[in-house]
């Protein structure tokens, strides 16, 4: 052994000793920290908790969960709630892989997604937190289309209309000669899935010669910029842009119904109103920070939903939300 090698091995030994000491030190300091968090939890809901809650999923529901997180920060500033927007499908993929605590969804979970969760033995519960009303909008100067039947909508949007239905007078002979300009949701969105399913009768079936956009502001600009324009998006976007656009009443056989909070709550705005969900996992609810966040979400659902400009649940749905969450808490123990 040369002196150089000897020095090297001495350094290596020293490094090993130091790192072992550090590791031991680490284990020594852990118990008090753990003790702190359990004592905080046992003090009840008012105690200041810390930790992280991960939510991901639908970009439609994200503003809702984000608003909940923002309100919640006022009472529990040390709980870090993060909200991702992987889309409903992408959210479930992560959720069923055990990577998130709560999955936001603008449609109920599909059977194959449920199977993926079962395979990882992830138990969950479905909570309906708000209602959304897909709103069909036209230009302010459009005087003829105040009410459209679902058949007329289908005539405009079905795959068979591609390249053929290009004028309002083709939709209905009473309508004037005005070119039809269509703006809609991008094919990756839950909104597109829902609209095509309800109007065209098959999820994903739509004519392709329209201007699709994932960004609803593009639809707003498009429809407000052309007299014959027509588009659809969530109720929130209409409320924010009510000065630029006109909402169309929808007739699904029982007369014309305008999209409104009351109509959607009463279940009259069919078929374009839909429930919005969150899916918390049972394992996550066992953690005090997740339970506290969900408790806040459920207790203040009306405030959160109104603030995010969605349609709040009616009394019956709200009591169901509360009992569903109570059942989930019992399940989590």
């Amino acid at each position: 052994m040369t002196s150089g090698q000897r020095r090297l091995s001495a350094v290596a030994t020293a490094a090993l000793v130091v790192s072992l000491a550090a590791a031991c030190g680490g284990t020594n300091t852990t118990p008090p920290a753990g003790g702190d968090s359990t004592s905080a939890a046992s003090e009840g809901g008012t105690a200041e908790l810390s930790g992280q809650v991960k939510a991901d999923g639908s970009s439609t529901v994200a503003p809702l969960t984000s608003a909940a997180a923002e309100f919640f920060a006022e009472t529990q500033p040390k709980i870090n709630v993060t909200v991702g927007t992987s889309g409903t499908g992408g959210g479930f993929e992560k959720f069923c892989n055990g990577e998130t605590d709560i999955s936001d969804a603008s449609r109920p979970i599909k059977d194959e997604e449920k199977a993926a969760c079962d395979a990882k033995s992830i138990a969950f519960s479905e909570l309906t937190v708000a209602t959304d009303a897909l709103t069909v909008v036209v230009n302010k100067e459009n005087t003829w289309a105040t009410c459209l039947t679902t058949e007329q909508l289908k005539k405009m949007w079905e795959p068979a209309a591609e390249g053929k239905i290009t004028n309002w007078n083709q939709v209905d002979a009473k309508f004037p000669d005005e070119p039809l300009k269509l703006f809609g949701a991008g094919t990756d969105s839950g909104t597109f899935d829902y609209f095509t399913d309800e109007i065209n009768g098959e999820e994903g079936a739509s004519r392709k010669d329209y201007s699709p956009s994932e960004d609803d502001n593009v639809t707003v600009q498009g429809v407000s910029g052309s007299k014959g324009g027509v588009g659809y998006f969530g109720f929130t976007y209409f409320e924010e842009n009510a000065d630029k656009l006109k909402a169309v009443e929808i007739d699904s056989g029982d007369g014309c119904v305008a999209p409104s909070v009351e109509a959607a709550q009463a279940g009259k705005y069919t078929p374009l109103s839909r429930p919005l969900f969150i899916y918390p996992s049972v394992a996550a609810v066992k953690r005090p920070e997740v339970a506290a966040f969900l408790q806040y979400y459920v207790d203040n659902a009306h405030k959160i939903v109104t603030d995010a400009k969605f349609i709040p649940l009616n009394a019956e749905q709200e009591s169901k939300l509360k009992s569903d969450f109570a059942a989930l808490k019992t399940q989590a123990g």
Partner: protein, 296 residues
């Protein structure tokens, strides 16, 4: 400057047709430059004017808010971007330089495997960034179990820009005259001493420029990070490499998709911040280049 330019001729070559062609060519070059510049200036002016009402301290001292654009800020996105980009630099620059040194100074290019490596590096530089996102999700986030954290994002962005660093560093190393190496070796220095004391210091300007270009690309990436769980709403700064995070491009993307006008203004202001960070990085590169520039 050590840059070679075509020396301007003192003799007027005034034979027929020449001046016309000369002027036309010069105008064509000017037009190309103008096209590039006009778009950049228009873009900059637009985001500045649009974002000016919100270009104040709220932008970096407040956390994001979905409820009120007036109190919303981008602090978590700014710190997230700085965390991700610093770690990316830490992973990529040493690895990239080491790979370039191997390829330029040690690799025997007559061996087939070295040629395969070379060809692959060129190809890697052209792969769409979303593909790296999928790779990062499958391997770094899930197989390595690093989750959706700052370190996953940095490693993935590091892989994404590594080929750019390698290519730039190789060019820089190649531009060091062989006489410098030969002189060093002739004086009895070993190969490593030659590289570390002569070749590397001389190639710092080129390497710095290449590295900053690579990091500038990484700082603007949103696509792969969308796959890697950069969240759209977070009110905390990252507190370590395993923390959740968001970055400026994603924050901007989210604000633009909001329905309220106030958020669009905020998005423009955040673009200005992103550009400011980029400019700061570029000026460091220019400073480094000027500081270490040598003439042979």
């Amino acid at each position: 400057m050590a840059v070679l330019t075509t020396p301007r001729s003192n003799v007027e070559l005034a034979s027929k047709g020449r001046p016309v062609k000369e002027t036309a060519f010069r105008l064509a070059l000017l037009a190309s430059l103008a096209i590039a510049l006009i778009f950049l200036v228009a873009l900059l002016a637009y985001v500045f004017i649009e974002g000016s009402p919100r270009l104040d301290s709220r932008l970096w001292s407040n956390m994001p808010s979905i409820r009120d654009p007036e109190i919303a800020g981008a602090q978590s996105a700014i710190t997230g971007t700085l965390w991700v980009i610093s770690l990316t630099a830490l992973f990529t620059i040493p690895t990239g330089i080491a790979a370039a040194i191997y390829l330029e100074e040690y690799a025997n290019t007559s061996k087939w495997y070295n040629r395969v490596i070379e060809l692959n590096i060129q190809n890697l530089a052209a792969i769409p960034s979303i593909v790296y996102g999928i790779l990062g999700l499958g391997i770094i986030a899930r197989t390595f179990g690093l989750g959706f954290s700052v370190i996953t994002a940095s490693l993935t962005l590091g892989l994404l820009v590594l080929p750019i660093v390698i290519i730039a560093a190789r060019e820089a190393i190649r531009s060091v005259p062989p006489s410098i190496r030969e002189g060093s070796l002739a004086l009895g220095a070993t190969q490593w001493q030659t590289i570390s004391r002569q070749v590397l210091p001389a190639s710092i300007p080129g390497i710095a420029t290449g590295s900053i270009l690579a990091l500038s690309r990484a700082i603007g990436e949103a696509a792969p990070l969308l796959m890697l769980g950069a969240v759209s709403f977070i009110r905390f700064n990252p507190d370590g490499v395993f923390a959740s995070y968001t970055v400026l491009p994603i924050q901007i993307f989210n604000w633009i998709a909001q329905s309220r006008e106030g958020f669009h203004i905020l998005a423009s202001a955040a673009i200005v911040i992103l550009l400011a960070i980029l400019l700061l990085m570029n000026s460091v590169a220019i400073w480094l280049r000027n500081r270490y520039q040598r003439r042979w």
